[in-house]
């Protein structure tokens, strides 16, 4: 897994600054926390959503409702995947009706995960609006999907892979780009 030719494109400080900026942008765009909710896409989007919630709370003093979404059951590539993905479940313990729901994911690539997340979200109700936060937008979209808030735009080749590592799951904060050996 550990490729030798990987290059760090964001360190812990850069991730921290990007998330702080995104938190402010979300608040500015939505004019505060009224009707706002965050939903992190498993697995790293969940940690990013929690960090955004904490930052928003530090700025506005309000803890916005935050949920977890597992999109495995909505993916369009289940029978094509090499390994059977583990289903860990969705936890959205608030009504999304009439909310401004902000989806949070680590990397925006083909757009297929976001498509699945949108379908999954609609099964929970009818949000007033859905917005998208990603830490990295690496391009190469296969669907007409875009992010509303981007931590960093990262031009990549299709042969490269982008990995977001976060303290909560990987022990440290960094974003690396690597020439994929094999996919």
């Amino acid at each position: 897994m550990m490729a030798t030719n990987e290059r760090v494109v964001m360190d812990a400080q850069a991730i921290e600054r990007a998330l702080t900026r995104v938190a402010h942008e979300v608040l500015e765009h939505n004019k505060g926390t009224e009707g706002l909710a965050l939903v992190g896409i498993r697995s790293r989007g969940v940690h990013l959503a929690e960090r955004l919630r904490d930052k928003i709370q530090a700025i506005e003093g309000v803890a916005v409702p935050t949920g977890i979404m597992d999109i495995t059951l909505y993916r369009d590539d289940l029978s094509r995947s090499k390994q059977q993905p583990v289903v860990k479940g969705t936890q959205i313990r608030f009504a999304i009706e009439d909310k401004h729901v902000v989806l949070v994911d680590d990397v925006l690539y083909t757009g297929r995960s976001v498509r699945a997340a949108l379908d999954a979200l609609m099964d929970f109700g009818r949000p007033l609006q859905v917005q998208l936060v990603v830490l990295i937008d690496r391009g190469h979209r296969e669907l007409p999907i875009r992010a509303d808030y981007v931590g960093k735009n990262l031009p990549t080749a299709i042969t490269e892979s982008v990995q977001v590592r976060l303290k909560e799951s990987d022990g440290r904060d960094e974003v690396v780009i690597a020439r994929a050996e094999e996919r």
């Binding site: 059951l73 909505y74 090499k82 059977q84 583990v86 860990k88 099964d123 109700g125």
Partner: protein
Amino acid sequence: MPFTHRHMLGLEGISREELFYLLDTAKSFKEISERNIKKVPTLQGKTVVALFYEASTRTRTSFEIAAKRMSADFVSLSSSTSSVTKGETLLDTARNLAAMRPDAIVIRHFVSGAPHFLAARLECPIINAGDGAHEHPTQAILDLLTIRERKGRLSGLTVAIIGDILHSRVARSNVFALNALGASVRFVGPPTLLAPELRAWGDVTHDLHEGVRDADVIMMLRIQLERQGKNFFPTVDEYSRYFCLTERAVALAKPDVIIMHPGPLNRGVEIASDVADGPYSVIMDQVTNGIAVRMAVLYLLINRSREAELETETHAQTAAEVEAATPRLRRRAG
């Protein structure tokens, strides 16, 4: 370790890791049944055929709801309303169904090993929904899920299995799984309803009170009245005098004991009504969990990864291997 088997035939020989994987997957499916819209698109365009040679309401409904909540199409056949009554053999019926290209066949049959027989001959994934007195794997998995939810663990627990163990496929599947997970098992029943080889799997007692003493889990089995032609006990009254689970017996178990029953209940025969409906009973949890377990099994078998497919092709789980795993005892239950 993921679950990579092509079929779900039984729990004999299953590993601890595979069981935990099944339980974790099932647990994550529970939330879908609590939604307002109880449906995910995962198995859209897939077809599940249920072939039931024995009466069933719970299991078949459970499989049907599970399949439909995953967006699969579900076709159900029972032997009484199909060409089985015209004398068609099991293999012919199954071959014809397989030719209609289903993505899984769920089968309940009164002959032990019937699902294995089909698994060795058909390409399609086979799910055993109960074969004779052999196994009923999804029932045992839902039992384990229910125990783990209530107790937070499975290893180190004392589980008393009470009743008609001789005829019980539920007991057999549970015993394999409980042993794999490090729970200790006690079998309780009259000598005529216990098999001698049980001692290899747990303690055996003929005294209900001794059996339930300090138990964490009491697992009741249904007295299979339809299989009592051979006089395994003198009368139903006498059986219930000795083995009916009453409040008095429950009081001997651990204070936080849970009481399970796979259904259907014979109230007043193996379990007293006030116990079945009482605070220790988790019988309805079992039914709810059954849906999640069957969703998980359908998901794992129908959406097998390409890696697992390749593996099966290369060092194949060949027909001969499946045959070898087929229970030698082809006893017709009852």
